[in-house]
Amino acid sequence: MNVIQCEDLTKSYGKLKAIDYLSIEIAENKITGLIGRNGSGKTTLLKMIAGYLKPTYGELKVFSEKPFNSLFVSENSIFIDDAMTFPDSFTLTDILTEVAPFYANWSSSLAKGLFDYFSFNPKQPHSNLSKGSRSTFNSILGIASRSPLTIMDEPTTGMDSGVRKDFYRALLRDYLEYPRTIILSSHLLSELEEILEDILLLDNGTKRLHLPVMELKELAVGIRGNAQAVLSFVEGKEIIYQENFAKGSLYVVVRRKLIQHQFEQIRLSGLEILPVSADDLCVYLTAKTKGGIDDVFKRG
């Protein structure tokens, strides 16, 4: 069953297309990572799925319904980002108590457990929290709601690495016990990828890749060593990324499929075959120029 389905989905602001003819399907009870550069349309897409923004064009169905202004979709989803606001008069414990009735699967014990674990002050107002604490608190809401569709837009902003580890673990553990569809957008793919099942990579509002993380990590390989030797092997093949990092040395990234059969030869030529992390690959695939930032420094 596809929880989210969209076809030719477009969202434009005047001439600017935040989402450009996007067609994807997200299946039930998977943890999907939404990755992409700033401005690639991640937040716009998530907000449309959550029902806050209306598509300009194209079809979007969440739980087989149009999400915009849908009470049904709103009941079965939760959208967590750092812009969430609560009444000034509410303390943190008030928020947990008052938001609970809206979400049928809410677990007060989990909320309280996480709240105490992260040592929150029950009497504190939400607006006084530091950035990291706010993200932590908001993510408690997201996890404890056990909402069938849980969407988190950069939930780890401001969290220190210890808290992030706890967050991933808490999210995964609760997901294992109470499966639900989770979509997380993040810039820290390297940390996040282990708990992800699928990755959706956006580039300028379009789908660049949508596949299981396991496939993404094996999609490409890096070949490093003598420039001429490297080039001879990748001749005629699509180069995803290349970098001259030392005199006569070259690092090149190509699709594994294209070069797999030549691995032994490559090694025998004294070249190194290196894995390409999912993080790096996503960056290379959405780069603006082939050479990267070094181009700026090349002139003069």
């Binding site: 202004n69 009470l71 969430m84 008069s89 509410f90 809401l141």
Partner: protein, 207 residues
């Protein structure tokens, strides 16, 4: 279909309670406004008539709750306007909402507020008379009963509803259907308010 409507009602109800708890600060401001109005009416009175007949002149000052009601109305108007601001609407985001339920719970809030304001302003009227009874020169007083006039209550209640409806319609004309951030703007959902609709028809003509 009926389960959807029951759902809408139950969610609107949940939102209503949430908003009620969220906005208890408004109550304080109401009380302060009413005390201020009370003071004004003690000093100035709500009305004054005088007539003279050559040798005899009579001047009549009336004291009633109308000043308090007026100020309470002002308070309601301000609250109604406040309910349409983005800042207020933002608190709905973490909750389960759609435009209709959001508006319904807003109506519920305003109705509660107007009932409350109606009651307290009428009580203020009584309180005013009590003060006058004990402080003014009794020989000059003509008392028209201490009883809580139902008309005051009804007036307060309905005026507030009307103001709210007015505000919602005003909201129509200067906000987008789909404002760039949140889809909470409202065009058609206020069609379903029974009370305000009839009253506003009376005051404004057709919809």
């Amino acid at each position: 279909m009926s389960s959807k409507e029951a759902n809408l009602l139950s969610i609107s109800l949940k939102q209503y309670f949430y908003k009620l708890k969220a906005n208890t600060g408004l109550l304080n401001r109401l009380i302060i406004t009413q005390i201020f109005a009370l003071f004004l009416s003690l000093v100035g009175g709500s009305g004054m008539r005088s007539s003279s007949n050559g040798e005899l002149s009579v001047s009549l000052k009336t004291y009633s709750a109308s000043t308090v009601i007026f100020f309470s109305l002002l308070w309601i108007v301000i609250v109604a306007i406040f309910l349409t601001t983005k800042q207020y609407k933002k608190i709905e985001i973490p909750l389960v909402v759609n435009r209709l339920s959001g508006s319904l719970s807003d109506v519920g809030l305003l109705m509660t507020a107007s009932v409350f304001a109606g009651i307290t302003s009428s009580l203020a009227g009584v309180f005013l008379r009590v003060i006058m009874y004990f402080t003014f020169d009794r020989s000059k007083l003509v008392i028209n009963g201490f009883v809580l006039p139902l008309s005051d209550l009804w007036l307060g209640f309905n005026s507030c509803d009307f103001i709210h409806d007015l505000n919602l319609r005003a909201g129509l004309f200067y906000r987008d259907v789909d404002s760039s951030e949140y889809g909470f703007r409202n065009i058609s959902s206020h069609r379903n308010f029974g009370n305000s609709k009839s009253l506003s028809r009376f005051f404004l003509g057709s919809c």
